[in-house]
């Protein structure tokens, strides 16, 4: 019997897992959009077929995105950077701080614009690090 309180059975998480399985999507790749949402060493190895290249790309992505020296057995949430950039941009545009819900003054809006730009730079740097996969 399915446990309705079990998030691995009855949640968006479970449904997304099931969809990825149904479509045969690789881990970290969005089954609906094909976007790379996470980077794992295992998946990089599957794509490159080479341990040292996979490790190099993983570490380069970790450096580029400000993840820190994360171990190869952990994953890097690439989507988090983009979401953070969008949140800052939305705050700057709407004039409401997404952290506090308070109205922003000119200084606050500028802060969020700069933060969005900074996050965009990280997104681009991660994208460039992943370009190596296409080059082989």
């Amino acid at each position: 019997m399915k446990d309705l309180n079990d998030p691995e059975v009855n949640s968006e998480f479970a449904r997304s897992k099931a969809l990825a399985k149904e479509k045969g999507t690789a881990p970290g790749i969005d089954p609906e959009t094909g976007e790379r949402a996470a980077v794992t060493y295992r998946q990089l190895y599957n794509e490159t077929g080479d341990e040292s290249t996979a490790a190099e790309i993983f570490n380069e992505v970790a450096r580029a995105g400000g993840y820190g020296n994360v171990g190869l057995d952990q994953a890097l949430d690439v989507r988090s950077l983009k979401k953070s950039s969008e949140a800052h941009r939305q705050s700057a545009k709407s004039g409401v701080d997404f952290n506090t819900g308070r109205e922003l003054d000119k200084f606050g809006k500028r802060h969020h614009e700069q933060a969005a730009q900074h996050q965009d730079n990280l997104v681009n740097a991660v994208g460039e690090a992943l370009e190596r996969l296409k080059k082989g």
Binding site: P27, G66, Y67, G71, K83
Partner: protein, 199 residues
């Protein structure tokens, strides 16, 4: 003249349980882990996430600093203090202690190795490499059940080993304490984890 508002707010009192996840991806600089609207981790951004199931008494989050006071001979009280350590952890008594694949294998980093084949799943005991996990405790806010609070440790390991009680009276359980470690090359203010609330 006006007085100052009091801060009594019953909608900010926790009265619900949380979901504890291991195997989460690390968020990038200035970011937070990606969640779905129902509070579960985004399965694509967190491809290895696993939920650790029921507990007997819920979860407890702790973050405790240790300080060392600085004194001068001429002054009887400390004149300053410095932080010498920060201990961050998430602890509970796990109830699903017969789930080797889904629960126990995530508690044995450094001293146990999980394997499975036709007809069995096992943990062999002996020294092995310590592997760290991204973990998070996620629970709904009282004021709005579609918004969540999140305690996320980027690099954690269960520090209390296995202490699995097998008994007929009361619930068998296994106490766990996930201890947070620092990722040295992240920004200094964000090396261990974060605690955030959706608004």
């Amino acid at each position: 003249m006006a007085g100052t508002a009091l801060n009594f707010d019953a909608t900010k009192i926790t009265n619900n349980y949380g979901w504890f996840w291991v195997g989460l991806a690390t968020p990038g600089a200035g970011s937070r882990i990606t969640l779905f609207t129902d509070g579960t981790p985004d399965a694509t951004a967190n491809p290895s996430a696993k939920h650790l199931g029921h507990t007997t008494d819920g979860w407890e989050m702790t973050a405790k600093k240790t300080t060392e006071d600085q004194n001068l001979d001429e002054v009887v009280v400390p004149i300053d203090t410095v932080i010498t350590a920060l201990d961050v952890g998430l602890a509970a008594n796990l109830a699903q202690t017969q789930d080797v694949t889904g629960v126990l294998q995530h508690l044995i980093s450094g001293f146990g190795t999980y394997s499975t084949a036709a007809g069995y799943e096992q943990i062999t005991l002996g020294i092995t490499t310590i592997t760290y996990l991204g973990v998070a405790l996620i629970f709904p806010t009282k004021a709005d059940a579609t918004k969540f609070m999140i305690y996320n440790l980027y690099k954690a390991v269960n520090d209390s080993g296995l202490a699995n009680q097998i008994k007929r009276k009361g619930l068998g359980n296994n106490p766990v304490a996930f201890k947070g470690y620092g990722i040295t090359s992240r920004a200094a203010v964000d090396q261990c984890g974060n605690f955030w609330k959706q608004i």
